[in-house]
Amino acid sequence: MKRIEPWFASVMLLVIIAFSVRSLQYDFLSNDGLIGKGFFPTIFCISLLVLVGFYTWKVFIGKSNSDSDTEKDLGNLITKKVVSKQLVFLFSLILCIIAMEFLGTIVSLGIFIVIMLKYVESISWLKSISIGAGTTICLFLIFIQWLNATLPRGLFF
């Protein structure tokens, strides 16, 4: 995590710079002397630019407040296994959303739950499929039957 913080701070700074540049293009005051649409965005963005700039500088010189916590995380919690689990989860989530258009929401989410339980939580196939099927039925009953939600249906539900 300690290695990631400079990247995180830099990306945040870049986003704030983009927003700040855009905010300066909006009218700060309107023609009738009242505040324009850029009044609040400019104030927020410029303040953020200063603060996030300072934070990034602190991170790069190694004086960020979160150092002690991230050290602890690095040693005790964030292992390669955890990171790979998180990445598998994120990519599966994205794949599930893409699959929703083709297979339907409920079926895609059911498959997603089974895969997550099996490969991320390391639960047996039988339990994973049972929990996945049970959750899918509950989701179907709550959202489709009871709430009449309009969800992407695809080939199935």
Binding site: F44, D73, V82, V120, I131, L147, T150
Partner: protein
């Protein structure tokens, strides 16, 4: 006694199976969310918020306020049994709750804390019933400048800006406020920060942000923290859950005193349940004839903070109902929920939707009674549920987040944004940025801007409107005092050490 009549009408409205059912679901989910380390009322409400879209407003509010109260009760279960607080306000319950468990008195500790929670909860709601009308009358005197000042106060007081190191809180509030400006500007009718993306013209809803940063990021965090729930096994003999009544009520005055303190502090924006519990623990220790027992299993060290914790719920709902300002992260999400359900919290809330609000208040009473039963007789069931549910929660939370967000506007773009906020929220958590501050900014941002603009329209662009109206001036002065107090304290502290 008009309040009592209105309350009775509220009871009449909820005395039907569907209303009691939703109340029961809310408190059960809330107790579980409170008991499971890492979750909590904010996350649970954020995840389940989208489900309430198609629901009757009374049922939806019974569900959400049930979760809020249930989480306050549930937090203590893992504190007492595992020495791991379920949520932040339950930290203090570990001080004397876990030592009681080690002494083989887990059942006694759980029942005592449930009773204290019940007394605290009921006193908080009684306070809510009798204080809402006077505060509403006061709030009717408010115009746009007063509201702007109030929003500013709420933002400063509740977002953690008053903490010793408010640097990251300020960044998060500003990020939230910046996000709130994305979309069409209502005065000029033109876009801001949409970067050519059509879907951003309607802005980014607070639900997308809240579900992403609280709900989805929780799934990433859960992959790191595997709590050993096996320790919960066979810790609570069923017979122990029913100690003698005299044993239970020996701390009655402690519970009463702590409840009143908790209620009063709960009203103040920003103070919150966590600060209250620590404060009450300290007070009880000072008042105790045997302060040396605190930390080793003193019953007053458990009952006092638990009563205070639950009394804050009633207190925190007063500014939400009457002024339309949230006093904490949970009430901020509730404020958004009210707006989503077509209700506008503020001085006119009781005029326009009084029947719904009184039914909700009546529901809080019912919820407390149900929670007392649930948290005594069914505690062994909850300990099994906590033990079993933890491994399955991640994927189920993710599935609920996806469906809930899609249902908002039938938009995959919103789902994508939610995932983005989930990832960002995870990194914010890792680097100790307070998430609630950002969500508060997103919720209060539009109101802050709208009231600021209305104030200037009223005064034809004269900024002195905020300083010439007494209530607005007082609120702004309080905001500045709260904001600069930690800095002054720091300076005075340094001067003293020198």
């Amino acid at each position: 006694m008009q309040e009592l009549q209105l309350l009775i009408s509220g009871f009449a409205a909820i005395m039907q199976p569907a209303a009691i059912f939703w109340c029961f679901i809310g408190i059960t989910l809330g107790t579980l969310a409170g008991a499971l380390p890492g979750l909590g009322s904010v996350t649970a409400i954020a995840i389940l918020l989208p489900i309430t879209f198609g629901m009757d407003p009374v049922h939806a509010l019974l569900l959400l306020t049930g979760i809020y109260q249930g989480a306050m009760y549930g937090g203590r279960i893992s504190s007492i049994l595992l020495n791991i607080p379920g949520d932040a306000p339950a930290v203090v319950s570990t001080f004397d709750g876990y030592p009681l468990t080690k002494q083989g008195k887990a059942g006694y500790a759980l029942t005592l804390s449930a009773l204290a929670s019940f007394i605290g909860g009921i006193i908080g709601i009684i306070g809510l019933v009798f204080l809402t009308q006077p505060v509403t009358k006061l709030a009717l005197m408010f115009g746009a400048p007063e509201y702007f000042a109030l929003m500013l106060l709420a933002l400063i007081a509740t977002s953690g800006l008053t903490e010793k190191k408010p640097f990251k809180s300020i960044i998060m509030v500003l990020i939230g406020l910046m996000i709130s400006t994305i979309g069409v500007d209502i005065v000029s009718g033109t876009e801001r920060f949409t970067f050519g993306i059509l879907e951003l013209w309607s802005g980014i809803g607070f639900v997308v942000v809240a579900v992403g940063v609280f709900g989805l990021s929780e799934v990433f965090v859960r992959m790191e923290n595997q709590v050993d729930m096996e320790k919960l096994k066979s810790k609570i003999p069923f017979s122990e859950l029913f100690p003698k009544i005299s044993e239970m009520f020996k701390d009655f005055w402690t519970m009463l005193r702590s409840s009143i303190i908790g209620f009063i502090i709960g009203i103040l924006p920003g103070a919150g349940a966590t600060i209250t519990t620590f404060m009450v623990y300290d007070i009880e220790k000072k008042l105790s004839k045997k302060p040396e027992e605190f930390g080793k299993g003193a019953s007053k060290g458990l009952s006092g903070p638990e009563a205070a914790n639950n009394a804050t719920v009633g207190g925190a709902l007063i500014p939400l109902f009457t002024l339309g300002i949230p006093g904490s992260g949970t009430t901020a999400i509730l404020l958004g929920a009210f707006m989503m359900l077509g209700l506008q919290p503020g001085p006119r809330l009781f005029e326009t939707s009084g029947d719904i609000i009184w039914a909700t208040i009546a529901g809080l009473f019912v919820a407390n009674i149900l929670l007392l039963i649930l948290n005594t007789v069914f505690v062994p069931v909850f300990s099994i549920m906590i033990q079993k549910a933890d491994a399955y929660l991640g994927p189920i939370i993710a599935a609920l987040c996806i469906i809930g967000i899609y249902m908002l506007n039938n938009s995959m773009f919103d789902v994508g944004l939610m995932i983005l906020f989930g990832v960002i929220g995870y990194f914010f958590r890792k680097f100790n940025f307070p998430l609630a501050a950002m969500v508060l900014g997103v919720i209060l941002g539009p109101m802050l801007e709208e009231n600021f603009r209305q104030s200037l329209m009223m005064s034809s662009g004269d900024f002195s409107v905020f300083f010439t109206r007494p209530i607005a001036l007082v609120l702004i002065i309080i905001s500045f005092i709260i904001l600069f107090l930690p800095i002054f304290k720091n300076i005075i502290g340094r001067m003293r050490t020198n």
